[in-house]
Amino acid sequence: MASGVKPRVKVPKKAAAGETITIKTLISHKMESGQRKNDDGSIIPRSIINRFTADFNGQNIIDITLEPAISTNPYFQFDSLVPEAGEFTFKWYDDDGSVYEESKSITVG
């Protein structure tokens, strides 16, 4: 696991049924591109988050492929429809195989 990785998510706790809400996500990650060289001239191996997904009650709402040119601490903001109460699950896939997960529940009323 890359060091200092911590996922963060901001989801409203409550929404009206059928409302569109804004979700913000951020994961602290170095996003080493694999293009840089260290002091002795050898290439620093690529280490990035390569995929990000968000699901709502098991249904996928967004699936993103990340490329090496994306800067450190990738931040995503997107909108989602909330048809019912439930749980958002967020997953970040690291190059080294680690998967970082975070979930947030939302009530309708």
């Binding site: 911590k6 963060r8 913000k24 951020l26 800067s71 450190t72 601490n73 931040y75």
Partner: protein
């Protein structure tokens, strides 16, 4: 009448002729409220000791709307990643005494208001101390830990954490009494031209704020927003690192971060922002 005022009236004439240009832009009129609750004063009357400026503005007012927006919510503010790391360091014991910051200071909220009054005269030490110097003094004498690098990542993050609890409070550094001679020295440095380009702080930040220096929109050089997350280097930057960058850009040999010269300059520049809100950790370009 100072140069900026003359230029502003010149701009008014140009504007009347329908020939406005963005290159002569004064600070904008936006309001800064962080997390929809902390109201930040970004414009106020200049403190009495300032002879050539009537109104002081936070650097936030000179940035683009996109950059401004990033600072308006802690979730969006990338500086908060560093502040969170500092909050962990706050509770982590370090050094031979087995103490952490929280061993003496409990919650970081107990330091609310501290950022607003630093740099500050330290009676026991007989000198003006910056927050960074005070942190290192705590680490060395109370914790028995290694000093942090003055402009390093751990230091910038800790100052950011301590600043964050004072946000919205007015900057109010004391410039009289025992601090006065240090303040005078800082003022002298502020108005002294340095380097091959022969520029003083005042040439850009007092005479020419609001103008463009090539692609950069010159602010008043206020430090109420420090430490600052800069988009150009994606990390928190300390006041002295910024001073160093500015002096270097005049093509001068710079003073060292933590040197008596920069401590004096920090006190003087901070005093020019007396009345603005503590804003750090802020976001700039």
């Amino acid at each position: 009448m100072n140069t900026t005022k003359k230029l502003t009236s010149a701009l008014a004439i140009v504007a009347a002729a329908g020939l406005t240009t963005a290159a002569w832009a004064d600070p904008d009129d936006d309001n800064l409220v962080i997390n929809e609750e902390i109201e930040i004063v970004t414009e106020t009357a200049a403190p009495a000791h300032m002879e050539n400026v009537d109104t002081i503005y936070s650097g936030w007012r000179f940035r683009s709307d996109e950059t401004q927006a990033v600072q308006m919510d802690d979730f969006d503010n990338p500086a908060m990643i560093f502040v969170e790391a500092a909050a962990e360091a706050w509770n982590a014991a370090d050094g031979s005494e087995g103490k952490s910051c929280s061993s003496c200071h409990n919650d970081v909220e107990s330091l609310k208001g501290v950022r607003a009054v630093y740099p500050k005269w330290n009676e026991a030490a007989g000198e003006v101390r910056t927050l960074e110097a005070q942190i290192n003094d705590c680490r060395e004498t109370r914790m028995g830990a290694e000093k942090w690098k003055y402009t390093g990542g751990s230091m910038a993050a800790m100052v950011g954490l301590i600043s964050s609890v004072s946000r919205g409070m007015p900057v109010n550094v004391a410039i009289d009494g025992p601090a006065q001679s240090t303040w005078e020295k800082g003022k002298e440095i502020y108005y002294t031209r340095f380097g091959q380009l022969e520029l003083s702080c005042a040439n850009c930040h007092e005479d020419s704020y609001g103008m463009m220096i090539r692609a950069d929109h010159l602010s008043q050089g206020q430090i109420n927003g420090f430490p600052t997350y800069r988009l150009k280097n994606t990390k928190l930057n300390t006041v002295h690192a910024r001073f160093k960058g500015c002096v270097r850009d005049t093509r001068a040999e710079t003073f060292k971060p933590g040197s008596p010269e920069f401590v004096a300059l920090e006190l003087y520049v901070a005093s020019r922002g007396n009345g603005l809100s503590v804003e750090g950790p802020s976001v700039r370009n």
